[in-house]
């Protein structure tokens, strides 16, 4: 697991008791997560790692590569996502009103009958239409390429949902309670996959990546030495609706 050792050390050395207990709280969970990762798994590169006190920069562009030819149950990724973000706590909404960050899409060629399944989440477009149309700047792209909704600013106009070509966004249709600590979400705002930004900032991989048995690789697309960039360079990958020229950060193999 590639956590930011430097920062952790600094934190532990220079601070008071109170603070170090806080550090332990934050980084302790990272260490624990690190232990659970199987050795030899493809993890993301540290080259452009940043400490928690630094701003995200455009030196990094986070992305994912989904290998749809691998025989995995994509529903595991969906469950991991729902679990990570506390989704599914709507009690009144109809099924078509409930939030989904990631869904399994079945694609079938009518002519040949060939079919595949693939997980689709927010594609973290480089030129995200959801950001362009948002009147308040709530829908935003972090410099490192993660597209987020700033719920403090979102007025719930839902224009971003109209604009997203991937149907990646959901609107919260009811009052929510019992949210996850790391994923605040509530009535009247639009939301979508945030690439588990809380985990990334913590040195962890997104939840779906962790649950994918290696079928989804996460990493820095800007760093040619990162595993994801190397694999993309060698074997290539495709983006969904690449014709729209939004340059999504999520790439697929086998579609």
């Amino acid at each position: 697991m590639t956590i930011n050792i430097e920062n952790e050390k600094k934190g532990a050395m220079t601070t008071t008791n109170v603070e170090s207990s806080r550090r332990n709280f934050i980084f302790g969970s990272v260490a624990a997560a690190g232990l659970t990762v199987a050795p030899g798994m493809m993890l993301y590169q540290t080259a452009n790692a940043r400490s928690q006190s630094e701003k995200a920069t455009s030196k990094v562009r986070w992305g994912m590569l989904v290998d749809t030819t691998k025989d995995v149950d994509w529903n595991k990724c969906v469950d991991a996502c729902n679990n990570e973000h506390g989704l599914g706590n709507e009690h009144k909404s109809r099924d078509d009103q409930k939030t989904q960050y990631i869904r399994v899409v079945d694609v079938k060629n009518k002519g040949t009958g060939y079919s595949i399944s693939l997980p689709v989440m927010c594609q973290h477009c480089e030129k995200p239409p959801c950001v362009d149309v948002c009147p308040t700047g709530a829908s935003m792209k972090r410099p490192d390429g993660i597209v987020l909704v700033d719920r403090h600013r979102c007025i719930g106009c839902r224009y971003c949902m109209m604009a997203c070509p991937y149907k990646a966004r959901s609107f919260v249709h009811e009052v929510l309670s019992d949210q996850k600590e790391n994923t605040p979400r509530g009535k009247g705002c639009v939301e979508s996959c945030n690439m588990c930004v809380n985990r990334i900032d913590n040195g962890q991989e997104p939840a779906c990546v962790e649950a994918s048995d290696g079928a989804i690789i996460f990493g820095d697309l800007n760093n040619p030495e990162s595993p994801i960039s190397k694999i993309l360079a060698k074997h290539g990958g495709k983006q969904i609706r690449a014709d729209l020229k939004l340059n999504p950060g999520v790439h697929y193999q086998g579609i």
């Binding site: 009103q97 989904q100 149309v133 007025i155 839902r158 009247g188």
Partner: protein, 400 residues
């Protein structure tokens, strides 16, 4: 030609208070249903993650589009110097403001977080066409306000033409902006068309004038003021031209879409296989909302006031249907993640989304109409918007 004389509507009458109460009640019901929707969240509506904008948007966009159309009368009078429309230009201006206010109220109250209006007013993303619309709407109110002032304050009359020109240009941009809200949605087949913005302009001419004519006839009837045939027949002839123009645009719009590979599916869906949307298109929009009114306006009934009013009402109905088909039908048709492939998922990929308007949504929409009428009612009683008489000897520049 007799001298034109503007006069407030007598406010201290039973009739006035009846209308005031009626429109106030409709507005109040609309606001209460919005409160109900906001309090519970949108799960109580028919809207969902596929049909993102529902019935309130149909009403709101109708009112906003009609607002710029309502200003037409004034523009014709001051920009194109057609004196025949001069008596109506004040009413036309205030109606534009009222319609826009009604539409904006609906748009605002349907937000997920209307309490954050202050955010929308202070944090601008200037790339967003939505932001531009907010600025355009605010500007429209201001410019039309100034325009009205130059009309109503004698020393400033000489500025009317300039203000009218500014308002005219502004309103063209405004409707283009409203149309562009949809036009910029590249991923949605239904909207990705350069024709949408000009079509919205011509729709605004028709809806705005229909609303104007209906209000004019109604208010003159209930205030027992005289409304001569000269004005009515001019307006209804103009209305007919606009209706025909919309029809022509709809034809071109669908034909070009049929011939473009990207848009054929959605067009075929709307025109033939779209269930309620196909019904609304052919029966309500085309037949009831365009052909029947054309017949009523130009046929043997063309002089009958009741029939003219009916035609205007039908045009409004048809306009609502048209926007319903564009807005909701356009969303119901699935976006293609993989063009040419069959797609399915738990998130309703590849299927026609279902939507049934809920009562609160409809009431909120009607509330917007209520707000418009309420504002008009108050306005014509407070200030001199309406000519005391529009009898032919006043209105017709050729009468002796």
């Amino acid at each position: 030609m007799k001298k034109l004389h503007f006069l407030e509507v007598e406010g201290n009458t039973k009739g006035f208070f009846t209308f005031l109460g009626l429109f106030g009640l409709i507005s109040l019901i609309g606001i209460l249903s919005a409160y109900y929707m906001e309090h519970n969240g949108h799960w109580v509506t028919g809207m969902n993650n596929q049909i993102i904008w529902g019935t309130p948007h149909v009403f709101a966009i109708f009112l906003i589009v009609a607002a710029s159309g309502a200003l037409n009368i004034a523009s014709i009078s001051s920009v194109f110097s057609k004196t025949a429309y001069k008596p109506l230009s004040r009413l036309s201006g205030i109606m534009a403001i009222s319609l826009l206010s009604g539409g904006l109220v609906v748009l605002l109250l349907d937000l997920g977080r209307p309490d954050r209006l202050i955010v929308a007013m202070t944090q601008f993303n200037l790339v967003s066409i939505f932001t531009w619309n907010i600025l355009l709407y605010t500007g429209f109110m201001g410019i039309v306000g100034v325009y009205l002032w130059t009309m109503m304050d004698r020393p400033y009359n000489k500025l009317t033409k300039k203000a009218g020109m500014a308002a005219f240009i502004w309103r063209l941009i405004l409707t283009t902006g409203t149309g562009s809200i949809f036009g910029f949605l590249v991923a949605r087949e239904a909207y990705d068309s350069a024709l949408l913005a000009p079509m919205f302009i011509i729709m605004s001419f028709s809806f705005g004038l229909a609303f104007f004519l209906l209000f004019l006839m109604g208010s003159y009837k209930y205030t027992q003021r005289e409304l001569g045939d000269y004005i009515v027949s001019r307006l209804k002839n103009l209305l007919g031209v606009f209706v025909a123009a919309v029809l022509y645009f709809v034809l071109v719009y669908h034909l070009t879409n049929l011939y473009s590979a990207d848009h054929r599916d959605i067009t075929v869906f709307i025109l033939t296989g779209g269930g309620i949307y196909t019904f609304l298109f052919w029966v309500v929009q085309i037949a009831l909302g365009s052909l029947v009114p054309l017949f009523l306006l130009y046929g043997p009934t063309g002089k009958n006031r009741a029939m003219i009013a009916l035609a205007a009402a039908l045009i409004i109905l048809g306009g609502m249907a048209q926007l319903y088909v564009i807005i909701i039908g356009g969303q119901a048709f699935p976006m293609s993640l993989f063009p040419g492939m069959e797609v399915s998922s738990s998130f309703y990929d590849g299927v026609i989304a279902s939507y049934a308007p809920s009562l609160p949504e409809i009431l909120l929409g009607l509330g917007g109409v209520g707000v418009t009428l309420l504002l008009m009612t108050v306005a014509i009683a407070a200030l001199k918007f309406m000519p005391a008489s529009l009898a032919d000897e006043v209105a017709d520049p050729h009468s002796k």
